[in-house]
């Protein structure tokens, strides 16, 4: 913990870089995954190819993807853009299936009731289908965010500064305390982000608590 005392600015900078690198890809991932997941749930024939492709992308090890990115994007190897794009790809891959399954979980009766009340097309999607799918989607968001925090730290191997830099610094000096500080801060970040998503999910689905109370 001496390292934290002597280099508070470094650690704070790495912490916020880590936060940003973990959250941004999930946001991008959700924005991209929503329409694709909608297509997969709306048109049944498209579900297997879309989810299979997503599974295939999810298979590629992260370090490999970080390194392959520059040759696809034409970026520099040290650019954080490689990581943001690679992690966004993972988030999309994970969330597409989650969004599709979430939308599929809406009971046909509920849909029929909504239609009978006059909801059509996009407004039904926005006001009925999507809110009902929220718990499933946020479960996926939690997985994507928490695993991103861990994956971001691997970026230290290709020299992108964030909390993972504590691992490489610690290994370079062979001091376990520095590495442990990094592990603890990563866990803390994952825990806080996970808690925030859970809180958001509760706020978006007040009816779940109402049902529980009865």
């Amino acid at each position: 913990m001496n390292y934290l005392k002597n280099n508070p600015d470094n650690v704070a900078q790495w912490f916020f870089a880590h936060l940003w690198l973990s959250v941004l890809p999930v946001v991008v991932g959700l924005v991209v995954a929503l329409p694709i997941g909608w297509i997969a749930s709306r048109y049944k024939w498209s579900y297997p190819p879309i989810t299979n492709l997503a599974g295939l992308l999810y298979t590629i090890p992260s370090l490999a993807l970080f390194i392959i990115m520059p040759s696809i994007l034409g970026t520099k190897i040290l650019s954080p853009v490689n990581m943001v794009v690679a992690l966004s790809v993972y988030s999309v891959a994970l969330l597409v299936r989650v969004v599709a399954d979430g939308l599929n979980s809406v009971a046909p009766d509920v849909r029929a009731a909504a239609t009978a009340m006059g909801f059509t097309g996009f407004s039904r999607f926005l006001k009925v289908d999507l809110p009902i799918a929220v718990p499933v989607i946020t479960a996926g968001l939690r997985v994507a965010t928490v695993s991103n925090v861990s994956l971001v730290s691997i970026g230290a191997l290709i020299g992108v500064p964030q909390l993972g830099s504590l691992f490489t610094t610690g290994f370079g000096r062979y001091i376990p305390g520095i590495v442990l500080l990094g592990v603890i801060l990563c866990l803390l970040l994952a825990l806080v982000l996970d808690g925030l998503i859970l809180l958001g999910s509760r706020m978006l689905t007040p009816w779940q608590r109402a049902v529980a109370k009865r």
Binding site: S62, L63, P70, D101, S153, L157
Partner: protein, 245 residues
């Protein structure tokens, strides 16, 4: 840039010798499958026990998810620095790395095995009991065959995590395909780095496909067949099981 990568891969001299691709590939498979064997020995019996008896379910849902948040790379570096000094030279880096690979691989197998057994239709279980099957028979003849798709998808995601982390282990002086990425970076040789990255990606995808095919033949046709439900993504199952707790 891409041309250079393929030149690097096509160069025969890069494939032979102790630090050649062939040998690195074998090392990578040895680490990965070595760790996977331990993962299966620990994860499957424990998952079956918890699923069958219902004991300890809350504990595994919690710990499996806490482990997901643990930064792989940090854990690896920490365990190596902390314990390599106490181990015989041959095991100084290999031992801690294998330990970390096992720790990371267990949760997916354990939680999927548990979830698979737990999700078996209670009517099927009751019917088996009604026919006079003992607890063991219910487990082996009803619960395991029905849970197999989920168990195997847990094994798959565990295997992929292990292969990915075995790549990172090259940083702590281990062999395997990760060497090309780590060495390529320090030598500023992008062709070597990207070549290694492509090899790892191809290895992961190929092994996953092999498992997918195996799954098709191992799982009973009554369960896949026309009534097939897509095996839920292991990670999401774990997240959902936590939500229920």
């Amino acid at each position: 840039m891409i041309g250079n990568v393929f030149d690097w891969l096509a160069d025969g001299s890069h494939w032979s010798g102790e630090d050649g691709i062939t040998n690195r590939l074998i090392e990578h498979l040895q680490y990965s499958f070595g760790a996977l064997v331990f993962v299966l020995i620990i994860g499957i019996p424990l998952g079956l026990f918890i699923g069958h008896t219902g004991k300890g379910a809350v504990a595994i849902a919690g710990s499996a998810n806490a482990l997901r948040a643990l930064p792989t790379f940090g854990l690896l570096v920490y365990v190596v620095i902390q314990f390599s000094g106490d181990l015989p030279a041959d095991w100084a880096y290999l031992g801690p790395s294998l330990f970390v690979l096992v720790v990371l691989g267990v949760p997916a197998v354990l939680s999927n095995t548990y979830a698979g057994v737990q999700n078996v239709d209670p009517a099927a279980r009751d019917a088996a009991r009604g026919m006079g099957m003992t607890g063991w028979q219910v487990l082996w003849r009803v619960e395991v065959p029905n849970a197999l798709p989920l168990i195997l998808s847990g094994v798959r995601s565990s295997m992929l995590q292990i292969i990915a982390t075995a790549t990172v282990a090259a940083y702590v002086t281990l062999g395997g395909l990760g060497r090309f990425m780590i060495d390529g970076l320090s030598q500023q040789d992008y062709a070597q780095m990207a070549g290694g990255a492509i090899l790892v990606a191809v290895l992961a995808v190929a092994l996953d496909l092999v498992m997918a095919v195996a799954q098709r033949y191992v799982v009973s046709r009554g369960i896949t067949g026309r009534y097939a439900r897509p095996a839920p993504n292991a990670d999401v199952v774990a997240a959902e099981s936590r939500l229920e707790v």
